[in-house]
């Protein structure tokens, strides 16, 4: 069977490219790994967000420093009765309004210049707000200049609702039948670690004793750890007794809760497909950082978990 040259070359090229992609992934764990590039106006992870934020701020400052004399006039005019920038109102729009309100102070050309600049600022502000919504840490960091970068955004979690993502509220029971309400639970603890597992998952069951130790450690600091066995959702009796069995065998005494699978929390749980998954939740019910996927008995994951816990505890004291 004769294979002609171009066919071969094409095949080799395709294979090399695939190999390259695969190797680059294995070599460095922080590679972006995104399939959707090309939308340069949207940062794809926190690192990019910080960089973009800085750049945009610099652009805005550059515009404002170009015609300082003119801008000063604008700012003076703004003081006269103009409402200061309201929450959510774009700074660029605020500038435009101010310019409108004081247009008799400027010549035609100056007005044109200012309006163009203000519009640019409005666009920049829109982008900045978007970045700040997705990566609140990015806004902080670009202003402080801090170099620590949080973990990249997880595409499988539901999108943000503006601020930090809230852990979905639930009202359920623990395995002994006591009612558990999420708001009460979270507000009673400085930090709550929520571990998702299921009865036939080997690594999940393997880390149960470690989780119990962590629970005891956390309770000394005013926190706690709870487990959610996804088999027990909707109160499946057999699953509950099996789960209790396994927990007893591993010496895990911490609370395990279940709730309905069609509620907010239930749907959130069904979206989780990789186990075990651990979330760190602060006192107000917000999820701190990214979920930790995989057993926390692994050194790397244990460190990440500890970092998130410390972060939540520190924020709670502040």
């Amino acid at each position: 069977m004769k294979i002609n040259r171009t066919n071969t070359a094409g095949r080799i090229l395709a294979l090399l490219l695939t190999a390259l992609m695969v190797l680059s992934l294995a070599a460095c764990g922080t590679k972006g790994g995104d399939k959707m590039d090309g939308m340069s106006s949207e940062p794809k992870n926190a690192e990019e967000a910080v960089a973009m934020h800085k750049e945009l701020m610099a652009q805005e400052n550059a515009i404002l420093s170009e015609d300082t004399a003119l801008w000063e006039k604008v700012f003076m005019a703004a003081d006269k009765g103009m409402t200061m920038q309201e929450d959510g109102k774009n700074y660029g729009e605020f500038l435009l309004d101010t310019i409108e309100g004081s247009k008799d102070q400027f010549t035609e050309d100056e007005l044109k210049l200012l309006k163009e600049a203000a519009e640019k600022i409005r666009e920049i502000e829109n982008k900045l707000t978007m970045i700040e919504k997705k990566y609140p840490e990015a806004a902080q960091q670009s202003t402080d200049g801090a170099m620590s970068v949080p973990a990249g955004s997880d595409m499988t979690t539901p999108p943000d609702d503006g601020s930090m993502q809230k852990f979905p509220a639930f009202e359920g029971k623990d395995l002994d039948g006591n009612t558990v309400k999420s708001d009460e639970l979270f507000s009673a603890n400085a930090v709550t670690v929520v571990n998702f597992w299921f009865t036939t998952c080997n690594p999940c069951v393997g880390e149960l004793s470690e989780l119990d130790a962590l629970n005891k450690e956390l309770s000394e600091k005013g926190g706690s750890l709870i487990g959610v066995n996804t088999f027990t959702l909707d109160g499946d009796e057999t699953a509950i007794s099996e789960a209790k069995d396994v927990l007893a065998k591993k010496g895990a005494t911490y609370q395990n809760v279940y709730f309905d699978s069609d509620g907010e929390a239930g749907k959130f749980t069904t979206n989780i497909f990789a186990y075990p998954t651990t979330y760190v939740v602060d006192r107000s019910g917000n999820i701190v950082g990214e979920p930790i996927v995989g057993a926390i008995t692994e050194k790397k994951q244990a460190e990440t978990l500890q970092k998130l816990i410390d972060q939540a505890l520190a924020a709670d004291m502040g």
Binding site: F198, C201, N202, F273, Y275, G294, E298
Partner: protein, 48 residues
């Protein structure tokens, strides 16, 4: 293997296979398969 013996063996195995399959489903094994297949136990596939 002569023709007749072979055909007999084939039929027997087919029936045995079918029987085992049904028995396994009745035992609840199919439910175990489903529950393991839709939740990714990471270590089980060699991640981590």
């Amino acid at each position: 293997m002569s023709c007749g013996k072979k055909a007999a063996a084939q039929i027997v195995l087919l029936m045995a296979g079918a029987a085992m399959l049904c028995f396994g489903v009745w035992r609840g094994e199919a439910a175990t398969v489903l529950s393991k297949a839709i939740k990714l136990c990471l270590e089980c596939v060699g991640i981590g």
